[in-house]
Symmetry: C2
Subunit: 340 residues, 2 copies
DNA sequence: ATTGAGAAGGTAAACGATTAAGTAAATACG
DNA sequence: CGTATTTACTTAATCGTTTACCTTCTCAAT
């Protein structure tokens, strides 16, 4: 690999001059700078990141925390799309993305924080992990610029999908379609679930809907089996709902299966709505009505906030950025007569 | 950040001694080593990766080339699962994963190779990209340890899903189910497509199936719209097939839509099979019969080969590792009477 | 002529590690 | 006992950059 030293030898100047020329400093003669840059180009020079990082304490590398447990992580459409957008955003600004090592190994089991400091990440995007683990707490408290997705910490920037508005929009949508008996199978406990659930109740109240207790069920995210079971439960009620909301699109497919097995049709006999807006949901019939989250925007916001935090730590607001989703109108929710 | 210098000061030894103690060299007194390691632990020491990389030319970091174009990349189940498995594999061996920057920017637009050298990657996994671009050629010729997925270069290690065997198994499977009029909508041109297509013809020959020309159609991977159109074409033939094979599961859903729109049922009226084995295909009814690729194994093999190449360059075979898939038996392929 | 400023470039230390080579003391050996 | 070997360290160079601080030169102003 050709280094500044090689260039300096060819150009007959000192290494310092080469450094200055390549970094476009201005205590260098115009002509000298031009010559050095040209030679560098010809020799195929590019900087040694390790050396640069060592000297400047800037790695132009951000860590992404992506814990793959419970079938989440990379293999979840939602996170994959967010990551993809995040990647594009930071790459455009000259940063690279490295995964924070989650299979802790090495001597003594390095913690997330140690790994991050060791690698010298300029910042960390905490996208998908167990936010309640002490390791994460240690990480966000460390002072390394960090942005979380869909989780709020004190004094840490966060980007959140607007689950309150989202659930409100979705429920209002099915209400307008004439549904008065709406059930909600919500996901396992988390901040996201809490937001959606309370928004569900509040919106129901505002719309004058009464939600019987047995209409609110729980099924873990992305679990078609339990969603299937809970759907069966709802279908077997004396007064079954006319529409069921699911924790996510994946779970909604579990619902489909139960419904079809009972010999019922979507949306003819019962309506269904998901949440997330995964791609496949738009490609199978009936297309799934769902609250589509704006993953591109989410990823972009995480990236921009993180870079801003890195480059302008003093002037960057510690805030929570809320990204709106919108109802994707498939044909899984029927228009029905209205009052029961 | 606490450095070796800090430790050496506390322990009253030289930095060199600290380095040796921490690296478990043996020209160090037992007791001294113990003391140094203990102090290091207490002071919360961890190595500065940049310094280590600079000095040793080993980054313990591998680059992953993941080009997101044409809706592929991260957001494709197949690649996402492979990446996930690759990530776990290399992390367990003490390596981190960084994406090779694909949104080339920086001064003068750095090439993949320049980026890799600049970052000092110990190796590169080329997972998902345009294998015919000159940049990629430059990369694999550079001498940096590299492993490709599903593409063969001269003298480069490759991990390939066995598309020949896969297609043979799949076609044989539908044949055994009694199908004699089998259509194949294949994907856009690529090495993978070639393998499957020739295997399709060869297997058909072996089974004594005649495949009319109009039974072989093309639709890009993961394109539900064109798959829909081509399915319509097939259904409208005077003698439509009894079973249609698709380029991938996603495309198969496009086929479902066309079939349903014609008022036909899967598998009652016509059978359908996909390729890949994406998760969702197992969760909707009818569950899709497909050739499930072993993404976990693919990722693991890429990772292990790459690390082996890095750590034992002399003794590691340059070879092509073939990973077998297997037919996932859903209920989208009907058992039918047999001879037409 | 003297002074001073600004431009252009050089010197050398530093970042945090690794490692070849050197040294002093302890131990072994004949 | 003298020499050779081993053990346990230390010294110092080095990886490729950056950067604070010099030095030299030119030229304008006084």
């Amino acid at each position: 690999m050709v280094s500044m030293k090689d260039i300096s030898a060819v150009c007959g100047v000192s290494v310092a001059t080469v450094s200055k020329a390549l970094n476009d400093q201005n205590d260098i003669g115009k002509e000298t700078k031009r010559r050095i840059r040209q030679v560098a180009e010809e020799m195929g020079y590019f900087p040694n990141t390790a050396a640069k990082t060592l000297k400047t304490n800037r790695s132009y590398n951000v860590g992404v925390l992506f814990n793959h447990e419970d079938y989440s992580g990379l293999t979840h459409d939602y996170y994959a799309f967010v990551l993809d957008s995040l990647k594009n955003t930071v790459e455009q600004k000259g940063y690279d993305i490295t995964f924070v090592n989650t299979s802790k190994r090495r001597l003594g089991g390095t913690s997330y924080l140690e790994h991050c400091k060791s690698r010298g990440f300029d910042g960390i995007a905490i996208v998908c992990t167990d936010f309640y683990s002490p390791e994460i707490l240690q990480l966000v408290r460390s002072g390394i610029p960090a942005v979380t997705l869909d989780h709020l910490f004190n004094n840490v920037c966060a980007v959140m999908s607007n689950n309150v508005q989202g659930m409100q929009d979705l429920l209002t949508y099915v209400y307008r379609k004439g549904h008065r008996r709406v059930a909600y199978i919500h996901g396992a406990d988390s901040a996201v679930t809490q937001s959606r659930l309370s928004s569900f109740y509040r919106t129901a109240g505002q719309l004058g809907l009464t939600i019987p207790d047995e209409y609110v069920r729980m099924s873990p995210y992305r679990d078609t089996k339990i969603a299937y079971r809970e759907t069966m439960y709802l279908l077997d009620l004396d007064e079954p709902p006319t529409c069921i909301l699911y924790p996510d699109d994946f779970a909604a497919f579990g619902g489909f299966n139960a419904i079809h097995e009972r010999g019922l049709r979507v949306p003819g006999d019962i309506s269904v709505a998901g949440y997330d807006g995964i791609r496949i949901a738009r490609h199978i019939e009936p297309t799934l009505t769902t609250l589509r989250q704006d993953t591109t925007e989410l990823g972009r916001q995480v990236g921009e906030k993180l870079i801003s935090l890195i480059e302008h730590p003093k002037t960057t607001l510690v805030e929570t950025i809320v990204v709106e989703g919108h109802v994707f109108e498939g044909n899984s929710v029927a228009e029905i007569g209205g009052e029961e």
